[in-house]
Protein backbone atom coordinates (compact mmCIF):
# COMPACT_ATOMS: atom_id res chain seq x y z
CA UNK A 1 0.00 0.00 0.00
CA UNK A 2 1.75 3.16 -1.12
CA UNK A 3 2.28 6.27 0.91
CA UNK A 4 0.56 7.58 3.97
CA UNK A 5 -2.90 6.32 4.86
CA UNK A 6 -5.82 8.72 4.60
CA UNK A 7 -6.95 7.79 8.09
CA UNK A 8 -4.81 6.27 10.78
CA UNK A 9 -5.72 5.27 14.33
CA UNK A 10 -2.74 4.65 16.58
CA UNK A 11 -3.31 2.66 19.79
CA UNK A 12 -6.58 4.40 20.54
CA UNK A 13 -8.30 3.66 23.86
CA UNK A 14 -11.69 5.08 24.74
CA UNK A 15 -13.42 5.06 28.09
CA UNK A 16 -17.01 5.70 29.10
CA UNK A 17 -16.52 6.58 32.73
CA UNK A 18 -14.63 3.56 34.02
CA UNK A 19 -15.67 1.34 31.19
CA UNK A 20 -13.01 0.78 28.57
CA UNK A 21 -15.01 0.46 25.35
CA UNK A 22 -12.05 0.41 22.97
CA UNK A 23 -8.59 -0.83 23.90
CA UNK A 24 -5.45 -0.02 22.03
CA UNK A 25 -6.97 -0.07 18.57
CA UNK A 26 -4.76 0.72 15.57
CA UNK A 27 -6.01 0.73 12.02
CA UNK A 28 -5.41 2.48 8.75
CA UNK A 29 -7.55 3.30 5.75
CA UNK A 30 -5.84 4.17 2.47
CA UNK A 31 -7.25 6.41 -0.17
CA UNK A 32 -9.72 4.72 -2.49
CA UNK A 33 -10.27 1.69 -0.27
CA UNK A 34 -13.36 0.15 1.23
CA UNK A 35 -12.44 -1.14 4.67
CA UNK A 36 -14.83 -2.89 6.98
CA UNK A 37 -14.89 -3.10 10.74
CA UNK A 38 -16.62 -6.24 11.96
CA UNK A 39 -17.69 -7.41 15.38
CA UNK A 40 -20.53 -8.57 17.60
CA UNK A 41 -22.60 -6.09 19.56
CA UNK A 42 -20.76 -4.24 22.21
CA UNK A 43 -17.46 -4.90 20.47
CA UNK A 44 -16.82 -1.18 20.16
CA UNK A 45 -17.38 -0.59 16.43
CA UNK A 46 -19.69 2.38 16.84
CA UNK A 47 -17.39 3.83 19.48
CA UNK A 48 -14.52 3.77 16.97
CA UNK A 49 -16.70 5.59 14.43
CA UNK A 50 -17.78 8.15 17.01
CA UNK A 51 -14.18 8.73 17.99
CA UNK A 52 -13.17 9.41 14.39
CA UNK A 53 -15.99 11.95 14.18
CA UNK A 54 -15.00 13.59 17.46
CA UNK A 55 -18.25 12.67 19.19
CA UNK A 56 -16.15 10.96 21.85
CA UNK A 57 -12.51 11.72 22.52
CA UNK A 58 -9.97 8.96 23.08
CA UNK A 59 -8.19 8.83 26.40
CA UNK A 60 -5.05 7.46 24.77
CA UNK A 61 -3.65 7.26 21.26
CA UNK A 62 -4.08 9.46 18.25
CA UNK A 63 -6.32 9.71 15.20
CA UNK A 64 -4.71 11.13 12.10
CA UNK A 65 -6.55 12.25 8.99
CA UNK A 66 -4.51 13.38 5.97
CA UNK A 67 -1.47 13.65 8.21
CA UNK A 68 -3.25 15.89 10.70
CA UNK A 69 -4.22 14.95 14.24
CA UNK A 70 -7.96 15.21 14.65
CA UNK A 71 -8.64 13.47 17.97
CA UNK A 72 -8.88 16.76 19.87
CA UNK A 73 -11.01 18.57 17.29
CA UNK A 74 -14.74 19.27 17.45
CA UNK A 75 -17.08 17.31 15.24
CA UNK A 76 -17.84 20.39 13.15
CA UNK A 77 -14.14 20.89 12.39
CA UNK A 78 -13.74 17.24 11.43
CA UNK A 79 -16.70 17.47 9.08
CA UNK A 80 -15.13 20.55 7.50
CA UNK A 81 -11.94 18.57 6.89
CA UNK A 82 -13.90 16.12 4.76
CA UNK A 83 -15.02 13.25 6.96
CA UNK A 84 -18.68 12.32 7.11
CA UNK A 85 -20.61 9.68 9.02
CA UNK A 86 -23.84 7.90 8.28
CA UNK A 87 -24.76 7.12 11.86
CA UNK A 88 -26.25 3.96 13.25
CA UNK A 89 -30.02 4.15 13.15
CA UNK A 90 -29.89 6.73 10.30
CA UNK A 91 -30.83 9.69 12.51
CA UNK A 92 -32.43 11.64 9.70
CA UNK A 93 -34.32 14.80 10.65
CA UNK A 94 -37.78 13.35 10.35
CA UNK A 95 -39.78 16.59 10.64
CA UNK A 96 -37.69 18.28 7.95
CA UNK A 97 -38.28 17.68 4.27
CA UNK A 98 -35.97 15.50 2.25
CA UNK A 99 -34.57 18.61 0.55
CA UNK A 100 -33.95 20.31 3.89
CA UNK A 101 -32.20 17.21 5.20
CA UNK A 102 -29.86 17.32 2.23
CA UNK A 103 -29.27 21.04 2.71
CA UNK A 104 -28.40 20.38 6.34
CA UNK A 105 -25.77 17.98 5.04
CA UNK A 106 -24.20 20.87 3.16
CA UNK A 107 -23.94 23.06 6.24
CA UNK A 108 -20.19 23.62 6.34
CA UNK A 109 -18.96 26.62 4.32
CA UNK A 110 -16.87 24.34 2.09
CA UNK A 111 -19.94 22.27 1.28
CA UNK A 112 -22.28 25.22 0.86
CA UNK A 113 -20.18 26.50 -2.03
CA UNK A 114 -20.66 23.33 -4.06
CA UNK A 115 -24.04 22.25 -2.85
CA UNK A 116 -25.77 22.42 -6.25
CA UNK A 117 -23.27 19.97 -7.77
CA UNK A 118 -23.49 17.67 -4.80
CA UNK A 119 -27.26 17.78 -4.84
CA UNK A 120 -27.16 16.71 -8.47
CA UNK A 121 -24.79 13.88 -7.64
CA UNK A 122 -27.00 12.65 -4.80
CA UNK A 123 -30.17 12.83 -6.91
CA UNK A 124 -28.33 10.99 -9.62
CA UNK A 125 -27.34 8.26 -7.17
CA UNK A 126 -30.77 8.00 -5.53
CA UNK A 127 -33.40 9.35 -7.98
CA UNK A 128 -36.15 8.54 -5.48
CA UNK A 129 -34.89 11.36 -3.26
CA UNK A 130 -35.53 13.89 -5.99
CA UNK A 131 -39.06 12.58 -6.45
CA UNK A 132 -39.67 12.90 -2.71
CA UNK A 133 -37.73 16.10 -2.14
CA UNK A 134 -40.72 18.01 -0.75
CA UNK A 135 -41.89 15.18 1.48
CA UNK A 136 -41.17 15.07 5.22
CA UNK A 137 -38.29 12.71 5.78
CA UNK A 138 -40.22 10.84 8.47
CA UNK A 139 -42.74 9.65 5.88
CA UNK A 140 -40.11 7.79 3.84
CA UNK A 141 -39.74 4.02 3.99
CA UNK A 142 -36.83 2.54 5.91
CA UNK A 143 -34.74 2.00 2.81
CA UNK A 144 -35.42 5.48 1.49
CA UNK A 145 -34.50 6.94 4.86
CA UNK A 146 -31.21 5.11 4.69
CA UNK A 147 -30.63 6.49 1.20
CA UNK A 148 -31.38 9.93 2.54
CA UNK A 149 -28.94 9.44 5.39
CA UNK A 150 -26.22 8.43 2.90
CA UNK A 151 -27.13 11.28 0.56
CA UNK A 152 -27.05 13.75 3.41
CA UNK A 153 -23.59 12.59 4.42
CA UNK A 154 -22.44 12.91 0.80
CA UNK A 155 -23.63 16.51 0.57
CA UNK A 156 -20.50 17.69 2.37
CA UNK A 157 -18.46 16.04 -0.41
CA UNK A 158 -16.40 13.96 2.01
CA UNK A 159 -13.04 12.41 1.23
CA UNK A 160 -13.78 9.72 3.78
CA UNK A 161 -17.26 8.35 4.31
CA UNK A 162 -18.04 6.32 7.42
CA UNK A 163 -21.02 3.98 7.30
CA UNK A 164 -22.41 2.52 10.51
CA UNK A 165 -24.72 -0.51 10.12
CA UNK A 166 -26.53 0.75 7.06
CA UNK A 167 -28.27 -2.55 6.39
CA UNK A 168 -29.79 -2.87 9.85
CA UNK A 169 -33.48 -3.70 9.64
CA UNK A 170 -33.64 -3.51 5.85
CA UNK A 171 -34.77 -6.17 3.43
CA UNK A 172 -32.15 -8.02 1.35
CA UNK A 173 -33.26 -6.32 -1.87
CA UNK A 174 -32.89 -2.85 -0.42
CA UNK A 175 -29.57 -3.79 1.12
CA UNK A 176 -28.40 -4.95 -2.25
CA UNK A 177 -29.31 -1.58 -3.78
CA UNK A 178 -27.55 0.27 -1.02
CA UNK A 179 -24.39 -1.71 -1.47
CA UNK A 180 -24.45 -1.05 -5.19
CA UNK A 181 -24.63 2.64 -4.39
CA UNK A 182 -21.74 2.31 -1.95
CA UNK A 183 -19.60 0.74 -4.66
CA UNK A 184 -20.49 3.56 -6.99
CA UNK A 185 -19.66 6.19 -4.41
CA UNK A 186 -16.33 4.47 -3.88
CA UNK A 187 -15.60 4.22 -7.56
CA UNK A 188 -16.19 7.95 -7.89
CA UNK A 189 -13.32 8.53 -5.52
CA UNK A 190 -14.66 8.47 -1.96
CA UNK A 191 -12.84 6.31 0.53
CA UNK A 192 -15.12 4.23 2.74
CA UNK A 193 -14.89 2.73 6.20
CA UNK A 194 -17.91 0.64 7.08
CA UNK A 195 -19.17 -1.08 10.17
CA UNK A 196 -21.38 -4.10 9.81
CA UNK A 197 -22.85 -6.88 11.85
CA UNK A 198 -23.53 -8.80 8.68
CA UNK A 199 -20.07 -10.31 8.34
CA UNK A 200 -20.45 -12.17 5.06
CA UNK A 201 -21.97 -9.12 3.47
CA UNK A 202 -19.26 -6.72 4.48
CA UNK A 203 -16.40 -9.07 3.62
CA UNK A 204 -17.85 -9.31 0.15
CA UNK A 205 -17.76 -5.58 -0.49
CA UNK A 206 -14.58 -4.54 1.29
CA UNK A 207 -11.00 -5.04 0.32
CA UNK A 208 -9.69 -5.25 3.86
CA UNK A 209 -11.29 -5.89 7.23
CA UNK A 210 -10.60 -5.54 10.92
CA UNK A 211 -12.38 -7.70 13.46
CA UNK A 212 -13.13 -6.24 16.85
CA UNK A 213 -13.91 -8.24 19.95
CA UNK A 214 -14.53 -6.67 23.35
CA UNK A 215 -12.92 -3.46 22.22
CA UNK A 216 -9.77 -5.00 20.79
CA UNK A 217 -8.76 -5.88 17.27
CA UNK A 218 -8.36 -9.64 17.20
CA UNK A 219 -7.98 -10.24 13.50
CA UNK A 220 -7.26 -8.20 10.40
CA UNK A 221 -6.31 -8.71 6.81
CA UNK A 222 -7.56 -8.87 3.25
CA UNK A 223 -11.22 -9.69 3.15
CA UNK A 224 -10.79 -12.57 0.75
CA UNK A 225 -8.42 -14.24 3.21
CA UNK A 226 -10.82 -13.75 6.08
CA UNK A 227 -13.62 -15.69 4.52
CA UNK A 228 -12.50 -18.69 6.50
CA UNK A 229 -15.60 -18.96 8.59
CA UNK A 230 -14.12 -20.78 11.54
CA UNK A 231 -11.78 -18.01 12.45
CA UNK A 232 -14.50 -15.41 12.41
CA UNK A 233 -16.94 -17.65 14.19
CA UNK A 234 -14.47 -18.07 16.97
CA UNK A 235 -14.00 -14.32 17.12
CA UNK A 236 -17.73 -14.05 17.51
CA UNK A 237 -18.64 -16.98 19.65
CA UNK A 238 -15.34 -17.78 21.31
CA UNK A 239 -15.99 -21.50 21.46
Amino acid sequence: MPGEPLLKLESVSIYYGNFCAVKNVSLSVYEGEIVSLIGANGAGKTTVMNAIMGLVHPAKGSIIFEGKRIDKLDTSQIVSLGVSLVPEGRRIFSTLTVYENLMAGAYTPRARAQREQMLKRVYDLFPILQERSKQLAGTLSGGEQQMLAIGRALMSNPKLLLLDEISLGLSPIVTLKLYDAIRRINSEGTTILLVEQNVRQSLKISSRAYILKSGEIVLSGYSKDLKDEEEIKSAYFGV
Partner: protein, 286 residues
Protein backbone atom coordinates in the same frame (compact mmCIF):
# COMPACT_ATOMS: atom_id res chain seq x y z
CA UNK B 1 -73.41 44.26 29.92
CA UNK B 2 -70.97 45.32 27.35
CA UNK B 3 -68.34 42.73 26.61
CA UNK B 4 -67.02 44.28 23.43
CA UNK B 5 -64.35 46.34 25.07
CA UNK B 6 -62.82 43.64 27.34
CA UNK B 7 -62.88 41.14 24.50
CA UNK B 8 -61.23 43.38 21.95
CA UNK B 9 -58.59 44.64 24.39
CA UNK B 10 -58.07 41.07 25.58
CA UNK B 11 -57.34 39.91 22.07
CA UNK B 12 -55.05 42.83 21.26
CA UNK B 13 -53.25 42.41 24.56
CA UNK B 14 -53.02 38.69 23.88
CA UNK B 15 -51.10 39.42 20.70
CA UNK B 16 -48.49 41.27 22.70
CA UNK B 17 -48.38 38.48 25.27
CA UNK B 18 -47.71 36.05 22.44
CA UNK B 19 -44.63 38.05 21.45
CA UNK B 20 -43.42 37.85 25.05
CA UNK B 21 -43.86 34.09 24.89
CA UNK B 22 -42.16 33.56 21.52
CA UNK B 23 -38.60 33.80 22.77
CA UNK B 24 -39.19 31.63 25.81
CA UNK B 25 -40.84 29.02 23.67
CA UNK B 26 -37.96 29.06 21.20
CA UNK B 27 -35.33 28.59 23.91
CA UNK B 28 -37.29 25.81 25.50
CA UNK B 29 -37.88 24.12 22.18
CA UNK B 30 -34.20 24.18 21.29
CA UNK B 31 -32.45 23.66 24.61
CA UNK B 32 -35.19 22.21 26.82
CA UNK B 33 -34.25 25.07 29.13
CA UNK B 34 -36.74 27.28 30.92
CA UNK B 35 -35.09 30.64 30.84
CA UNK B 36 -35.99 32.28 34.13
CA UNK B 37 -34.32 35.47 32.93
CA UNK B 38 -36.76 35.86 30.04
CA UNK B 39 -38.83 38.47 31.84
CA UNK B 40 -35.71 40.44 32.64
CA UNK B 41 -34.80 40.24 28.96
CA UNK B 42 -38.20 41.66 28.02
CA UNK B 43 -37.74 44.55 30.40
CA UNK B 44 -34.25 45.03 28.95
CA UNK B 45 -35.96 46.24 25.79
CA UNK B 46 -38.18 48.60 27.74
CA UNK B 47 -35.28 50.15 29.67
CA UNK B 48 -32.98 50.41 26.69
CA UNK B 49 -35.81 52.15 24.85
CA UNK B 50 -36.24 54.45 27.83
CA UNK B 51 -32.54 55.25 27.97
CA UNK B 52 -32.44 56.09 24.26
CA UNK B 53 -35.59 58.15 24.57
CA UNK B 54 -34.23 60.16 27.46
CA UNK B 55 -30.70 60.52 26.16
CA UNK B 56 -31.31 61.21 22.48
CA UNK B 57 -35.04 61.70 22.26
CA UNK B 58 -35.06 58.71 19.95
CA UNK B 59 -38.50 57.34 19.16
CA UNK B 60 -38.74 53.87 20.77
CA UNK B 61 -40.03 52.19 17.62
CA UNK B 62 -37.23 53.76 15.56
CA UNK B 63 -34.77 52.81 18.28
CA UNK B 64 -35.54 49.14 17.62
CA UNK B 65 -32.83 49.34 14.95
CA UNK B 66 -30.35 49.71 17.81
CA UNK B 67 -32.16 47.76 20.52
CA UNK B 68 -32.67 44.48 18.68
CA UNK B 69 -29.04 43.99 17.58
CA UNK B 70 -27.81 44.92 21.06
CA UNK B 71 -30.18 42.40 22.54
CA UNK B 72 -29.00 39.79 20.06
CA UNK B 73 -25.35 40.29 20.94
CA UNK B 74 -26.12 40.26 24.66
CA UNK B 75 -28.08 37.03 24.33
CA UNK B 76 -25.38 35.41 22.21
CA UNK B 77 -22.71 36.26 24.77
CA UNK B 78 -24.73 35.22 27.80
CA UNK B 79 -25.34 31.83 26.26
CA UNK B 80 -21.80 31.41 24.98
CA UNK B 81 -19.98 32.38 28.14
CA UNK B 82 -22.39 31.52 30.96
CA UNK B 83 -25.29 29.26 30.15
CA UNK B 84 -23.42 26.87 27.85
CA UNK B 85 -20.94 26.16 30.61
CA UNK B 86 -23.66 25.52 33.16
CA UNK B 87 -25.59 23.50 30.60
CA UNK B 88 -22.76 20.99 30.37
CA UNK B 89 -23.21 20.28 34.07
CA UNK B 90 -26.87 19.51 33.72
CA UNK B 91 -30.22 21.16 33.41
CA UNK B 92 -30.51 22.30 37.02
CA UNK B 93 -27.36 24.43 37.02
CA UNK B 94 -28.56 25.95 33.74
CA UNK B 95 -31.95 26.77 35.27
CA UNK B 96 -30.31 28.29 38.32
CA UNK B 97 -27.90 30.34 36.28
CA UNK B 98 -30.77 31.95 34.40
CA UNK B 99 -32.25 32.70 37.79
CA UNK B 100 -28.98 34.35 38.80
CA UNK B 101 -28.98 36.39 35.59
CA UNK B 102 -32.53 37.57 36.24
CA UNK B 103 -31.55 38.73 39.74
CA UNK B 104 -28.53 40.57 38.38
CA UNK B 105 -30.51 42.30 35.63
CA UNK B 106 -33.43 43.25 37.88
CA UNK B 107 -31.04 44.78 40.39
CA UNK B 108 -29.10 46.57 37.69
CA UNK B 109 -32.32 48.13 36.44
CA UNK B 110 -33.08 49.21 39.96
CA UNK B 111 -29.65 50.79 40.42
CA UNK B 112 -29.76 52.61 37.12
CA UNK B 113 -33.42 53.52 36.74
CA UNK B 114 -34.74 53.48 40.36
CA UNK B 115 -37.42 51.06 41.61
CA UNK B 116 -40.25 53.33 40.46
CA UNK B 117 -42.55 52.80 37.53
CA UNK B 118 -41.50 54.34 34.23
CA UNK B 119 -43.15 54.41 30.85
CA UNK B 120 -42.24 55.16 27.28
CA UNK B 121 -44.39 58.15 26.50
CA UNK B 122 -44.78 59.23 22.89
CA UNK B 123 -47.62 61.09 21.23
CA UNK B 124 -49.00 57.93 19.63
CA UNK B 125 -48.79 55.87 22.82
CA UNK B 126 -51.64 57.86 24.32
CA UNK B 127 -53.84 58.20 21.21
CA UNK B 128 -57.10 56.39 20.85
CA UNK B 129 -58.60 54.75 17.81
CA UNK B 130 -62.34 54.58 17.29
CA UNK B 131 -63.90 51.37 16.10
CA UNK B 132 -67.57 52.13 15.60
CA UNK B 133 -68.84 53.57 18.84
CA UNK B 134 -65.90 52.25 20.83
CA UNK B 135 -62.48 53.62 21.37
CA UNK B 136 -59.41 51.41 21.60
CA UNK B 137 -55.97 52.76 22.45
CA UNK B 138 -53.96 53.03 19.22
CA UNK B 139 -50.99 51.32 20.86
CA UNK B 140 -53.06 48.15 21.41
CA UNK B 141 -53.62 47.97 17.69
CA UNK B 142 -49.90 48.46 17.07
CA UNK B 143 -49.18 45.67 19.58
CA UNK B 144 -51.37 43.34 17.64
CA UNK B 145 -49.71 44.24 14.34
CA UNK B 146 -46.30 43.72 15.89
CA UNK B 147 -47.41 40.27 16.97
CA UNK B 148 -48.01 39.29 13.36
CA UNK B 149 -44.80 40.87 12.13
CA UNK B 150 -42.83 39.07 14.85
CA UNK B 151 -44.42 35.73 14.07
CA UNK B 152 -43.83 36.08 10.33
CA UNK B 153 -40.24 37.11 10.95
CA UNK B 154 -39.55 34.15 13.21
CA UNK B 155 -41.23 31.84 10.76
CA UNK B 156 -39.07 33.15 7.96
CA UNK B 157 -35.95 32.89 10.08
CA UNK B 158 -36.61 29.31 11.09
CA UNK B 159 -37.77 27.99 7.74
CA UNK B 160 -35.91 29.95 5.09
CA UNK B 161 -32.40 30.52 6.41
CA UNK B 162 -29.39 28.36 7.18
CA UNK B 163 -29.50 29.61 10.77
CA UNK B 164 -33.05 28.36 11.05
CA UNK B 165 -32.12 25.07 9.44
CA UNK B 166 -29.29 24.54 11.91
CA UNK B 167 -31.61 25.36 14.80
CA UNK B 168 -34.24 22.93 13.60
CA UNK B 169 -31.63 20.22 13.14
CA UNK B 170 -30.24 20.80 16.62
CA UNK B 171 -33.73 20.57 18.10
CA UNK B 172 -34.45 17.26 16.45
CA UNK B 173 -31.23 15.44 16.98
CA UNK B 174 -28.23 17.25 18.43
CA UNK B 175 -25.90 14.37 17.58
CA UNK B 176 -26.99 14.19 13.95
CA UNK B 177 -26.73 17.97 13.77
CA UNK B 178 -23.13 17.77 14.95
CA UNK B 179 -22.46 15.26 12.21
CA UNK B 180 -23.61 17.87 9.68
CA UNK B 181 -20.85 20.10 10.98
CA UNK B 182 -23.22 22.22 13.03
CA UNK B 183 -21.72 23.48 16.26
CA UNK B 184 -24.38 22.97 18.88
CA UNK B 185 -22.95 25.61 21.18
CA UNK B 186 -23.08 28.16 18.39
CA UNK B 187 -26.69 27.20 17.65
CA UNK B 188 -27.60 27.59 21.31
CA UNK B 189 -25.95 30.98 21.45
CA UNK B 190 -27.79 32.06 18.29
CA UNK B 191 -31.03 30.82 19.80
CA UNK B 192 -30.66 32.86 22.96
CA UNK B 193 -29.65 35.83 20.84
CA UNK B 194 -32.78 35.51 18.72
CA UNK B 195 -34.90 34.93 21.82
CA UNK B 196 -33.54 38.05 23.46
CA UNK B 197 -34.12 40.03 20.26
CA UNK B 198 -37.78 39.10 20.25
CA UNK B 199 -38.00 39.70 23.99
CA UNK B 200 -36.61 43.21 23.57
CA UNK B 201 -39.04 43.87 20.73
CA UNK B 202 -41.87 42.86 23.04
CA UNK B 203 -40.30 44.99 25.76
CA UNK B 204 -40.39 48.15 23.69
CA UNK B 205 -44.07 47.73 22.89
CA UNK B 206 -44.89 46.75 26.46
CA UNK B 207 -43.14 49.89 27.60
CA UNK B 208 -45.28 51.91 25.21
CA UNK B 209 -48.40 50.17 26.52
CA UNK B 210 -47.88 49.83 30.28
CA UNK B 211 -45.68 51.37 32.96
CA UNK B 212 -42.84 49.09 34.02
CA UNK B 213 -40.39 48.75 36.90
CA UNK B 214 -37.61 46.27 37.76
CA UNK B 215 -40.12 43.88 39.32
CA UNK B 216 -41.91 43.69 35.95
CA UNK B 217 -39.11 41.25 35.06
CA UNK B 218 -40.89 38.62 37.10
CA UNK B 219 -44.40 39.60 36.08
CA UNK B 220 -43.48 39.24 32.43
CA UNK B 221 -41.72 35.95 33.11
CA UNK B 222 -45.00 34.61 34.41
CA UNK B 223 -46.92 35.96 31.47
CA UNK B 224 -44.42 34.46 29.05
CA UNK B 225 -44.57 31.21 30.86
CA UNK B 226 -48.35 31.28 30.94
CA UNK B 227 -48.49 31.87 27.22
CA UNK B 228 -46.31 28.92 26.38
CA UNK B 229 -47.83 26.65 28.98
CA UNK B 230 -51.30 27.27 27.65
CA UNK B 231 -50.24 27.09 24.03
CA UNK B 232 -47.62 24.40 24.29
CA UNK B 233 -43.88 24.97 24.33
CA UNK B 234 -42.32 25.08 20.91
CA UNK B 235 -45.51 25.62 18.89
CA UNK B 236 -45.94 28.99 17.24
CA UNK B 237 -49.67 28.78 16.64
CA UNK B 238 -50.00 27.56 20.20
CA UNK B 239 -48.05 30.54 21.46
CA UNK B 240 -50.39 32.90 19.62
CA UNK B 241 -53.50 31.22 20.99
CA UNK B 242 -51.92 31.00 24.43
CA UNK B 243 -51.38 34.75 24.33
CA UNK B 244 -54.99 35.40 23.35
CA UNK B 245 -56.35 33.03 26.02
CA UNK B 246 -54.25 34.68 28.69
CA UNK B 247 -55.08 38.18 27.49
CA UNK B 248 -58.79 37.39 27.41
CA UNK B 249 -58.81 35.63 30.77
CA UNK B 250 -57.25 38.74 32.29
CA UNK B 251 -59.49 41.36 30.74
CA UNK B 252 -62.60 39.25 31.35
CA UNK B 253 -61.57 38.53 34.95
CA UNK B 254 -61.04 42.23 35.45
CA UNK B 255 -64.46 42.87 33.99
CA UNK B 256 -66.32 40.31 36.10
CA UNK B 257 -64.25 40.10 39.30
CA UNK B 258 -62.56 43.46 39.41
CA UNK B 259 -59.01 44.63 38.77
CA UNK B 260 -57.74 43.08 42.02
CA UNK B 261 -58.18 39.51 40.86
CA UNK B 262 -57.32 39.97 37.19
CA UNK B 263 -53.85 38.48 37.39
CA UNK B 264 -54.99 35.91 39.93
CA UNK B 265 -57.29 34.26 37.41
CA UNK B 266 -54.52 34.27 34.82
CA UNK B 267 -52.11 32.56 37.19
CA UNK B 268 -54.68 29.98 38.27
CA UNK B 269 -55.33 29.16 34.61
CA UNK B 270 -51.61 28.66 34.08
CA UNK B 271 -51.25 26.52 37.18
CA UNK B 272 -54.13 24.26 36.21
CA UNK B 273 -52.74 23.93 32.69
CA UNK B 274 -49.39 22.95 34.15
CA UNK B 275 -50.95 20.28 36.29
CA UNK B 276 -53.19 18.68 33.71
CA UNK B 277 -51.32 19.23 30.48
CA UNK B 278 -47.79 20.48 30.96
CA UNK B 279 -47.14 20.09 27.24
CA UNK B 280 -49.88 22.65 26.49
CA UNK B 281 -52.95 22.48 24.28
CA UNK B 282 -50.93 22.26 21.08
CA UNK B 283 -47.79 20.71 22.49
CA UNK B 284 -46.83 17.18 21.70
CA UNK B 285 -46.33 14.82 24.59
CA UNK B 286 -42.69 13.87 24.89
Amino acid sequence: MNLFSPIITGIFLGGLYAVIGLGLSLVFGVMKLVNLAHGAFVVFGSYLGLALLIAFGLDPILALILIVPTAFILGYCIQKFLVNRAYQLGTEPALLITYGISIILANLYQQIFSPYFKSLVTDYSVKGLSIGPYSVPLIYVLDFIVCFIAMLLLHWLLNKTYIGLSIRCAVQDPVAAKLMGISIEHVYALTLGISLSFASLAGVFLGLTFPFNPVSSFTYLFIAFGVVVIGGLGSMTGTFIGGIVLGLSQTLAAYFLGIGLQTFVGFIVIFIMLAIRPQGIFGVKE
